[in-house]
Symmetry: C2
C-alpha cells in the first residue's frame, strides 16, 4: 500500500518537473517573427494531423468499447450483469485516453521547443541543447508519470488483474495506430522531401522552396514525438501490467510499485543531471544521464529492498535487466556508431554503388540480431534462475521485474528520443530562417548527438519489449489457468508449432504493409512536389515572396497515413483472433512465441540497418569516401532512404505490434477456450 501511494506521489512530482521544464522552455525568448511563423506552421500541421488521427482512432475505440461493454468479460446473454464489463470499459478507455493525452502534451512542447532551441543556438551550444533536452524531458516525465499514475490508481481502485490488462490494451492499441500512422506520415514526408528536393531538384535540405519541407518537420513531431511517446507509454504500462498480473498471486504487488516509483525517481534525477557546460559534448551529457539513472536505480532499489525486506533475488533480476539493457544498447551503438567498423565498411561499400550499400548494411543489420537476442534470452534465463529458489511463480516474476529494471530508464529514453526531433526541427527552422552557418553547425552537432544516444536508448526499448512480452506470455498462461485450463506450450505439439510458424510471419507482414504504405504515399508526394515546381511561377528560382503550398503536402502525408495506419494493425489483431478461433490456446501460445522471436529479429535488423545507413551517409558527408556529391554519397543517400522506413516506421512499430498481440491473446483467452474449430 505504501508504495502504491508513493507511486502516485512520485508521479505528481514528475508532473511537477514536467510543468517546471515546460515553463522554463516557454519563457525562453522567441524574438524572430519569421521563426515564430514557421514554428506556427509546423505546430498547426502537427495538431491538425493529430486531431484527424485521433478522430479515426475514436471509431476504433468506440467499436472496442461496445464489444467490451456488452460482451467482455461477461456476455450480456449470460445475464451476469454488466458491472465488471463497465470496469473493463473504464480501464480500457483510461489507457487510451492517457496515451492520447501524452501524445498531445508531446506535440505541444516539441513544437514550442523547436523554435526556442533554434533561436537559443544563436547564443551557443549549451542553451540550444538545454532547450531541446528540457523540451524532450517534458514528454519523458509526462509519459512515465501518467503510466505509473494510471496503473497505481487503477490497481488501488479495482485490485483486478483483468482491468490492468484492459488498461494496457487501451494504451497499446492506441499506440499501435499512433506509431504506425505517425511513422508513415514522417517517412512519407522525409523521403519525398529528400528525393524530390536533394536528389532530383538539387536544392539543399530544409530549403523553404521545397513544398514538403514543413510536412517533413511536422512528421518529426507526429512520428518521433507523439508516436514514440505512445509507444513507450505502452511498453511501460505493459511491463507493469504483466508484472502485476503475476505478482497478485504472490502478494508481491508492492514491490512492483516500489521499483516503478524508484525508477521514475531515478529518471527524474537523470534528467536533471544531463546538463552540459558551455563547451560540453551533448552526446556525452545524454549518455551520462542514462548511465546515472541506471546507477541511481540500482542503488535506491537495493536500499529499498533491504528496508522493506524484499528478497534481494528480485532486486538482482531488476539489475540484470539494467545490465542487459546496457549490453543491447552498446551492441546497437557498435553497429550504428560512425567511429565503428560497420559504418566505415558500409561507407566504403558505397563507393562500389548502391547495391553494395544495401547488401552490406542489410548484412550488418542481420549480424546485430545475435548479441541482442542472445542477451535478451540470457537475461530472461538468469532472471528466472535467480528467482527460482523463491519457488512458485517467482521465476516468471523475475523476468518481468527484469523488464521493469530495463525500463527504469524509460524517462530518460523518452527525453532523449523527443530531444532528437526537436533539435532536428530546430535545424530546419534555422535553415528556413537563414539564421546563419554558426547556428546550423550547432544544430547539426545537437542532431548528431541525438542519433548516437538514440542508438543506446533504442536498445533498451527493444530489449524491454522482448522481456515484457515474455512476461506477457506468462501472463497469458496465468489467464488461461484462471479459466480452469492448465496448458503447457510443448514445442512438439503440432498446434503450438502451427502457431509459431504463423505467428512468426505476422511481424513480417505488418512491417511490409507499413513500408508499402510509405512507398505509395511518398511517390504521390514526389509527384505533388514536381507539380508545384512546374506550375508555381518563381518557386524554383526562389523569388522573394513566392511560397510553395506547404499545406497540400501536409495533407497528402496526413491522408495517406490515416488510410494506411488501420489495416496493418487490424491484420495483426485479426490473425491473432483467427489463430485462436481456428486453433486453440496452445496455438495462440505458439503464435505469441513466434511473434516475439521474429518480431525481435526484424525490429533489431531494421533499427540497426536503418541507423547504420543513416550514419554511413553522415560519415560520407563529413568528407570521407569522396564526401558530399560523390558517387559514394549518392549510393549512401539511397541506403538512407531505404533505411528511413526501416528504422522510423516499421522497426519501432513492431514492438507495439508484439505487445498488442500479447494483450489481445490474454483478453480473448476465454473466447479461444470456448471456440476452437480444429481442436
Amino acid at each position: 500500500m505504501f508504495w502504491i501511494i508513493t507511486s502516485i506521489v512520485v508521479s505528481f512530482l514528475a508532473v511537477g518537473v514536467a510543468v517546471y521544464f515546460y515553463r522554463w522552455v516557454e519563457q525562453l525568448p522567441s524574438d524572430n517573427a519569421n521563426a515564430t511563423s514557421i514554428g506556427k506552421l509546423i505546430r498547426d500541421g502537427a495538431f491538425t494531423f493529430l486531431k484527424r488521427e485521433y478522430r479515426t482512432l475514436l471509431i476504433f475505440c468506440a467499436a472496442v468499447s461496445l464489444v467490451i461493454l456488452f460482451i467482455y468479460p461477461n456476455p450480456i446473454w449470460t445475464g451476469k450483469g454488466l458491472a465488471r464489463n463497465a470496469v473493463m470499459l473504464v480501464s480500457y478507455l483510461s489507457g487510451s485516453a492517457l496515451s492520447g493525452i501524452a501524445g498531445f502534451v508531446g506535440i505541444s512542447i516539441a513544437t514550442l521547443a523547436n523554435v526556442k532551441s533554434a533561436l537559443a543556438a544563436e547564443k551557443g551550444l549549451a542553451p540550444a541543447y538545454m532547450a531541446g533536452f528540457r523540451g524532450g524531458a517534458v514528454m519523458g516525465m509526462a509519459v512515465v508519470a501518467s503510466s505509473l499514475f494510471g496503473a497505481a490508481v487503477l490497481y488501488l481502485v479495482t485490485r483486478d488483474a483483468g482491468a490492468l490488462m484492459a488498461f494496457s490494451f487501451g494504451a497499446s492499441s492506441l499506440a499501435l495506430f499512433a506509431k504506425a500512422g505517425g511513422g508513415i506520415f514522417t517517412k512519407t514526408a522525409d523521403i519525398a522531401a529528400d528525393l524530390a528536393g536533394k536528389v532530383e531538384l538539387s536544392i539543399p535540405e530544409d530549403d523553404p522552396r521545397n513544398p514538403a519541407v514543413i510536412a517533413d518537420n511536422v512528421g518529426d513531431n507526429v512520428g518521433d514525438v507523439a508516436g514514440m511517446g505512445a509507444d513507450l507509454f505502452d511498453s511501460n504500462v505493459a511491463s507493469f501490467s504483466a508484472a502485476i498480473v503475476i505478482a497478485i498471486a504472490l502478494n508481491a504487488v508492492d514491490l512492483i510499485f516500489c521499483f516503478g516509483s524508484l525508477g521514475l525517481l531515478a529518471s527524474i534525477a537523470g534528467v536533471l543531471l544531463a546538463r552540459i557546460g558551455a563547451d560540453g559534448d551533448p552526446g556525452k551529457a545524454l549518455n551520462r544521464g542514462t548511465y546515472l539513472t541506471c546507477a541511481i536505480f540500482a542503488i535506491v532499489t537495493f536500499l529499498a529492498s533491504l528496508i522493506c525486506g524484499y528478497s534481494l533475488r528480485l532486486w538482482g533480476a531488476a539489475v540484470l535487466g539494467v545490465v542487459a539493457g546496457i549490453v543491447i544498447g552498446l551492441t546497437s551503438e557498435f553497429f550504428t556508431g560512425d567511429d565503428k567498423r560497420p559504418v566505415k565498411m558500409v561507407a566504403r561499400a558505397c563507393e562500389s554503388g548502391p547495391a553494395f550499400t544495401i547488401l552490406s548494411g542489410f548484412s550488418y543489420g542481420l549480424l546485430s540480431s545475435l548479441p541482442s537476442m542472445a542477451g535478451i534470452g540470457l537475461s530472461a534465463l538468469f532472471a528466472w534462475r535467480i528467482c527460482e529458489p523463491l519457488g512458485g511463480n517467482y521465476p516468471m516474476l523475475g523476468i518481468s521485474v527484469a523488464a521493469i529494471g530495463m525500463l527504469s530508464v524509460v524517462g530518460m529514453i523518452i527525453s532523449n528520443d523527443a530531444y532528437g526531433p526537436i533539435v532536428d526541427n530546430a535545424r530546419g527552422i534555422a535553415e528556413m530562417c537563414d539564421l546563419g552557418d554558426d547556428v546550423l553547425e550547432i544544430t547539426d552537432k545537437l542532431d548528431s548527438a541525438g542519433n548516437t544516444s538514440k542508438a543506446i536508448t533504442k536498445g533498451f526499448a527493444i530489449g524491454a519489449a522482448g522481456l515484457t512480452v515474455i512476461a506477457l506470455l506468462g501472463a497469458f498462461i496465468e489467464t488461461v489457468a484462471g479459466y480452469g485450463v492448465t496448458i503447457t506450450l510443448d514445442l512438439m505439439n503440432p498446434m503450438v508449432l502451427f502457431g509459431i510458424l504463423t505467428g512468426a510471419s505476422v511481424p513480417a507482414v505488418f512491417s511490409a504493409m507499413l513500408i508499402l504504405g510509405v512507398n505509395r504515399n511518398a511517390q504521390t508526394m514526389v509527384r505533388e512536389i514536381h507539380r508545384q515546381f512546374d506550375t508555381i511561377p518563381g518557386l524554383r528560382e526562389g523569388k522573394p515572396g513566392v511560397r510553395p503550398q506547404y499545406d497540400l503536402c501536409i495533407d497528402i502525408a496526413a491522408r495517406g497515413a490515416i488510410r494506411e495506419l488501420v489495416p496493418a494493425g487490424l491484420m495483426a489483431i485479426g490473425l491473432t483472433l483467427l489463430t485462436g478461433i481456428v486453433g486453440n490456446v496452445q496455438a495462440v501460445g505458439g503464435f505469441l512465441a513466434g511473434n516475439i522471436v521474429s518480431g525481435l529479429m526484424l525490429a533489431l535488423l531494421m533499427s540497426n540497418a536503418g541507423g547504420l545507413w543513416d550514419n554511413a551517409k553522415k560519415y560520407i558527408e563529413a568528407g570521407n569516401c569522396g564526401g558530399k556529391g560523390s558517387k559514394a554519397h549518392k549510393a549512401a543517400v539511397i541506403g538512407d532512404t531505404v533505411g528511413d522506413p526501416f528504422k522510423d516506421t516499421a522497426g519501432p512499430s513492431i514492438n507495439t505490434q508484439i505487445t498488442v498481440v500479447s494483450l489481445v491473446s490474454s483478453l480473448a483467452a476465454g473466447l479461444f477456450i470456448m471456440i476452437s474449430i480444429l481442436a
Copy 2:
C-alpha cells in the same frame, strides 16, 4: 524388406535413365570449334574450382572422421571398442562421398549439355530444350537414385538409426559448404560481370571482352548445378533419415522405402513426359512434368498402400505434403511471376528510383512468408492429426511422411533446377560465339521458362526442408529419449526460450556472412576487370584475337569462395554445440525451433524478393516502364544485384544450414546430456 530391395532396384533404373540421357546428350552434334573451345574453358574452370573446394572439404571431413572414430558414439577411453564408431565413420563418409559424386556428375553433364543446347538452338526451340532438360535430368536422376540407394543399403546392412543420421550428416555438412562455396562463387562472378560490364563499361551481357564472363558461366555450374545438387541430395537424405529414425520403433520402415521408391518412379515418369513439340512452350512442359509427377505419385502410393495394407492415413499425410508443396510453389509463383501484381508494382516503383525498388521488393518478400509458413504449419498440423488415431509416435511419422510426399517430386525439381544454368550457359555461349539473334531469342525463351518453373520447385524445396526439420526435431527428442532422458520442450522453460532466441539469430548471421563474402569478392573482381580493360591493349575496342585473362577472374572467385565458405558453416555448427554445452538439451530443442522459424522466414523472404527483383528487371527489359536503358531499368538492375546473393547464395543455403544444425543436435545429444554448464 521387399520395398528396400525395390528401392535399390528403382535406383538402378534411375541410374539407367541417367546414363541413357547422358549418352543422348553426348551424341548430339557439336560441330562448332569456337563453341567447343569456350565450353572447354567453362568445363575446366568448373572442375578446377570443384577440385579445390573438395580439397578444402576433405580437411573438414578428415577432422570429423577422427572425432567419429575415436569418440563417437563410444569414446575410446570408455573401452567399449570402436566397432560402432567404425560403422558411423563409414556411414558419414558414404554420405559425404555420394554427395560429392553427385556434384561431379552434375558438373560433368551440365558443362557438356550447355554447348549442345546452344548448338541445338540453331535447329529450333524443341531440340535446344530437350538438350537442356535431359542434361538437367541426368543430375536429377543421379541425385535421387544415389540418396535412395545409399539410405536403402545402409539400412539393410546396419539397421541402425544412428548410422542413418551420420550418413545424413555427411551429406548435409558437405552440402552446407558446397552450397555456400558455389553460391559465393557464382554471385561474385555474376555481380562483378554485370556491374563492371553492363553498368559501368556498357558492354552487353555475356560479351567475350568481359574478363568475368567465363567465371560467370563457371559460377552457374558450380553454384546452381553442383551446389544445388548437394543441397537437394541432403534434403532428400535428411527426410529419409528422419522418417526412418521415427519409423524404426513403429516397424514402419517398409512404408518409407515404398513411398521413396514410388516417388522416384513417379519422377522418372515425369522426366520422361516433360517433352515438348516443335512449337511447344517449355515453361508449360516443365510444369506439366511437375504436376504429372505429383499425380502419379499420389495414385501409385494409394494402390501400394491398399495392396500392402498400409494405413491410408499415412498415405493421406503424403498427399497432404504434395498439396502443401503445390500451394507453397504457387505462392512463390504469385510473388515472382512477371504476369502477376507484385512484379508489376515493383517495376513501377523502379520508375521512382532504386530506393523504392528495394523497399517494395523487400516488402513483397516479407509478405510472401505468411502463406508459405502458415502452409507449412497447417500441413504439419493436419499430417499429425490424420495420423493421430494410429497412436504412438505415428503422428510425428505423419509429418515426416508429408515431407517425403513433398519431396516425391525432387527428381523433377533437380532436373528443372539444373536445366536453368545449362540453358543460361547456352545463352552465354551463343552470345560469345555469335550464333545470331534467332538462337539468342530461343535461349532467352528457354532461360525465362526455367525461371518460372524454378519458382514453383523452390517452393517445394523450402516447404520440404521445413517439414523435414520438424521431423528432425522429433528425431532429436527420440534420440535424447534413447539416452534415457525424457524431455518436453515447454516454451515457458527459460532454457527453451533462451535457445529459441539464440537459434533464431543463427540463420540471420549465417546469411549475413555469406552476403558479406559475396560483397567483398565482387568488389575485388570489379577492380580486376577494370585493371584488365585499362592495361590490355585492344581489349576495350574488341580487336580480333585479343582475349581477356579469364583465368584471373575465375581464380578470384574461387579463392574468395574457398576462403568464405568455411566460417559461416562452422559458426552455425559451433553455436549449436555451444548452446548445448552451456545450456542443456532443452536449450538445444529451443535452438532448433528458433532456427527453423527464422530460417524459413529468411529463406522465403530472400528467395522470393530475389526472384521478384530479377523478374521485375526482365519485365522492364521487355519494354515496360521505359524499357532497357531507362531510369527505371537502372533501378531494376540495382534491385536485381541486391537480389542475386539473396536468392542464389544466402536464401538456398539456409535450408542446408537448418538441416545441418538439426543433425548436429541429434548426433551430439549425448554430449549435451553429459555437459550442461548452466543446467
